[in-house]
């Protein structure tokens, strides 16, 4: 068995998983209108930590990992068979602006994190677009399941940068209002930044408080288009199907679905098609992008941490921005934060490069 817990989130809504969960449960948002945010000085809605000082991605990632370590018996975790997996799409990309091109390479980001944890013998960095975080957790699960590691710390982070903002602006993919995942009037994404971490282990006893079971995950590619989602939800359908099969879970046993839901017309439509094909249309689901924006490499870890918090509190967080069904397949998007006994949660993600991933957590 693989156990998971010790989650932490650092976002504009707070610097712990608990603070973020409470803020989300109370319909608070990290999104705000920031003047001169865009490439041509447009005002944009973004979920930003501190617009004066910058995010400090290395420091925040280290802080997040340290916070997670506070929640475990460190003497048990500290071992040669403990691996750290980092998940990021762009690391410290703002360094490119200073023409320090090689300093912006992701390997340098990893080196900086590693310096803070000299006792960790091995650190991996996964960079798979928007599925990085979910894939990192699924990979951590497999490393423990196959006996290649005893404990794995997973940390995801990405920062807001002109680099990414301008790129999505060039795609005309950015909403000029707070984004509305799965809603009829959705116009695109908001960008966000954050860091999050959690710990997987073969040992239940390392966790100081309640931990959960990781039932593992999988990935699948659309084999269709590098930036356009599949019209049949192909990769997402295939990864969910594989993950359910491997975990021996039926779709009707999923109590809650933490979807990706970016707020673009095509992505959310694609997800609804995949959920319909699997038989998950009545499963309550949300996207957190309407509260925290799209945090890329951090998103999967932040959203997984909220899944664990949801199981701790038996509470499903509403999907901010959703008002009217806006996908061809009718799905059960939560408009209100609700209490429900939550035993089994499915987390999904999809990203550029046609990649999709999914993972299941259980109480």
């Amino acid at each position: 068995m693989v156990y998971i817990g010790a989650e932490n989130i650092i976002s504009p809504l707070g610097d712990s998983a608990e603070a973020n969960f409470e803020a989300l449960a109370q319909y608070k948002t990290g999104l705000k209108l920031v003047e001169n945010a865009g490439n041509r000085n447009e005002a944009l809605y973004i979920s930003i930590m501190n617009d004066l000082e910058g995010f400090g991605i290395v420091k925040q990632t280290v802080n997040s990992i340290k916070a997670s370590l506070q929640s475990i018996e460190f003497d048990q975790l500290k071992s040669e068979r403990t691996i750290l997996i980092l998940s990021t799409t762009k690391g410290e990309i703002e360094l490119l602006r200073n023409e320090e091109s090689e300093a912006a390479a992701l390997g340098k980001f990893k080196d900086q994190i590693v310096q803070h944890f000299p006792w960790i013998s091995e650190t991996l960095l996964i960079s798979n677009a928007c599925i990085s975080g979910v894939l990192a957790i699924a990979t951590a699960h497999d490393l423990i399941h196959s006996g290649q590691a005893d404990h794995v710390i997973v940390a995801g982070a990405d920062m807001l940068s002109e680099f990414t903002l301008a790129g999505f602006q060039s795609f005309f993919a950015i909403s000029d209002e707070p984004c509305k995942p799965f809603d009829k009037n959705r116009k695109g994404i908001n960008l966000g930044e954050g860091a999050a971490s959690l710990i997987l282990s073969r040992s239940k006893s390392i966790f100081k408080s309640q931990c959960f079971k990781s039932l593992g995950g999988s990935s699948a590619n659309d084999a269709n288009h590098i930036s356009g989602p599949s019209r049949t939800g192909e990769g997402l359908y295939r990864t969910i199907k594989k993950t359910l099969l491997r975990a021996n879970i039926k779709p009707e046993e999923i109590d809650f679905l933490s979807a990706h839901g970016t707020g673009t017309a095509y992505n959310d439509e694609m997800e609804s098609i995949a959920f319909d094909r699997i038989g998950l249309v009545s499963t309550p689901l949300h996207s957190l992008k309407g509260s925290l924006g799209h945090t890329f490499g951090a998103a999967g870890v932040i959203e997984a941490a909220i899944c664990l918090q949801s199981m701790r509190n038996n509470t499903m967080i509403a999907s901010a921005g959703f008002e009217k069904q806006g996908t061809s397949r009718s799905i059960n998007v939560l408009q209100k934060t609700e209490q429900k006994e939550l035993n089994t949660i499915l987390k999904t993600a999809s990203g550029f490069g046609g990649c999709n991933a999914s993972i299941i957590f259980q109480k």
Partner: protein
């Protein structure tokens, strides 16, 4: 489990080898290596010209392997696991995109390649492979990472066959090491020693 290295290829310093032998009849001015190899392999895939160099390199590595690997050419849609690692990733495209951002004229056609995993997407699209895939930022010498994850995918029944590789395209230097890993009796055992040995052959 009997995991074997079945087919492998290298691109280093403008020299292309397949299963340890120089590619028959291939010559290139190093500056046009990717285009020359595309023409030599008769790939006929116009999308190739829109790709960044990292994606072109990865796609050509697979085409090289397919030219001699029957199992790769007949691969089931969900059967292949892809495990790639790269040191610089898409840094070359990052620099190009940042220059456009600085000029206030970012291009979506460039921006989309500022994710290092796009090379896996391009390979998957060209070959209609829907299976597991993962991209690590890692030094090429860390072959144990490839072995661990490819072995894990096959042991955990997540893939029947694995495509593994290290690739980098930065400052017009193209470097690629790629191999097909399968269960069976033919070929060198999938060990760190054997992998280092075949990838170091010129």
């Amino acid at each position: 489990m009997n995991l074997k290295i079945r087919t492998y290829c290298n691109i280093e310093n403008g020299v292309v080898t397949l299963n340890g032998e120089n590619l028959d009849g291939f010559e290139s001015n190093q500056n046009d290596l990717l285009k020359d190899l595309y023409v030599h392999l008769k790939v006929d895939y116009p999308k190739f010209y829109k790709m960044d160099n990292l994606s072109k390199l990865g796609l050509l590595g697979v085409e090289l392997l397919k030219s001699v690997s029957t199992s790769l050419a007949q691969m089931g849609e969900d059967d292949l696991g892809i495990v790639l690692q790269t040191k610089y990733g898409c840094l070359e495209t990052d620099i190009n995109h940042q220059a456009r951002v600085d000029e206030k004229s970012p291009s979506p056609a460039i921006f989309v390649y500022t994710l290092s995993n796009i090379v896996i997407g391009e390979i998957s699209i060209k070959n209609k492979w829907f299976g597991e895939s993962i991209l690590f930022i890692e030094e090429p010498r860390k072959l144990d990472n490839l072995i661990r994850h490819a072995t894990g995918l096959i042991l955990n029944n997540k893939a029947k066959t694995c495509l593994i590789g290290c690739l980098d395209s930065y400052q017009n230097q193209h470097s690629l090491k790629m191999a097909i890993i399968e269960t069976g009796n033919d070929g060198p055992a999938f060990s760190l020693e054997n992998l280092a040995d075949i990838f170091d052959k010129k």
